[in-house]
Subunit: 228 residues, 2 copies
């Protein structure tokens, strides 16, 4: 089966403060988004890589690719006003009606080979593959009346890449309400389909805060040292 990955990097990084959108911040020698793309390319060069970025950022991205001699083939797609629209645009760029697609956050540059391969394999067998990890902090459910403890061992944090059979995820995105979902797994579930969970990796963080950016940089530098 043909394999695609849609890397969603169309956010405007409101939580990171002003300045360059975080996916273009240079860490460990190149923009974060290039590390994310390279992580997928390193696993499988025959992968079809689709990168979704804000329409206004396309010229910037093209200049960055030249400046960094970044030549991993990828198809650029314009993002929409929310993550849901951006993923839908990415899916629309895939003409195939068969195959597998991994949908991945551009802000998770530390994704590793095992998660990527296991995701494609599990989705080929079951239709879906959702990586998740155990949390290390205690949890509470908070509402307007107060809060109550949640059993930590029963709660999993969901990561990406989330991998799906193409017809299944395309059909789910044809539903009217995709714009209300920030998580593809939930959208699939809403369509009445079961989800296959598998072990993610605590290190596969979504870079959201300035401290996480520092962490990602250090880890990428360590990876570079190991591979050089």
């Amino acid at each position: 089966m043909k394999r695609y990955v849609i890397i969603v990097a169309a956010g405007l990084s409101k939580r990171m403060g002003e300045g360059t959108p975080k996916q273009f911040r240079v860490i460990a020698g190149k923009p974060m988004l290039m590390h994310t793309i390279a992580a997928f390319d390193a696993v499988e060069t025959s992968l079809n890589i689709i990168v979704v970025i804000p329409p206004a950022s396309i010229p910037t991205w093209q200049e960055l690719c030249k400046a960094h001699n970044f030549n991993i083939p990828h198809q650029l797609v314009e993002g929409g006003p929310t993550r849901g629209y951006s993923v839908k645009n990415g899916l629309a760029a895939i003409e195939d009606d068969e195959g597998l697609v991994a949908i991945h956050d551009g802000a998770r540059p530390l994704v590793d080979k095992r998660i990527i391969l296991e995701g494609f394999e599990l989705a080929a067998r079951t239709g879906t593959a959702i990586p998740c990890v155990q949390l290390t902090d205690s949890l509470r459910l908070v509402d307007t009346y107060g809060s109550r403890a949640l059993p930590r061992t029963k709660v999993k944090a969901i990561q990406t890449p989330q991998c799906f059979l193409l017809p299944m995820i395309k059909q789910a995105y044809d539903a009217q309400d995709f714009m209300n979902f920030t998580d593809d797994a939930q959208l699939i579930e809403r369509s009445g389909l079961p989800l296959s969970l598998y072990d993610g990796n605590l290190g596969n963080i979504k870079v959201t805060t300035p401290n996480q950016l520092i962490y990602a940089e250090i880890m990428l530098q360590l990876q570079n040292k190991k591979s050089s």
Copy 2:
């Protein structure tokens, strides 16, 4: 009101693999536990610091203190077989029946001044102060029948220091079942008392994995640079 902090560092670091218990691992120039103690001492030198470690580690700790010229005053208390027993031993070392106590994980060396001070102030007013943070990943509740999405915005991850009025937490620990709780907030709640939540800090992580140890080291080095 007199202020105490109980720093619980009596775990055996099963998740970190073999070798030195993580609280004694040297990062950014000294054992992690010394960074944690120093973070509290830096906020308020009149704080009474109680440190709970495994009984078998007491000679090691004393040697480490000499080797690192570590002279922040603290009272050593022997830990028990679970976190609950260790906290109870720490509370038993406080003769005062009035005052405030912060209970903190030794493996959270990145705790900051704002969290510590706000915790004492909130607990003085309301009896309890529990720092918590929003999660950045999507969440699922998993049971034997499958899994379902949890509304991420309603779930908070609980951190430490958790701060309490002394008589309140002592009474809660006199309950028979303290040994079943890994979280002091839950024990207080079980006693029928309300909890005051306040904003923690995503950077105040509990160091559990080798990658988190690397992260903590980097952040502590950055702090040292800023303060020197």
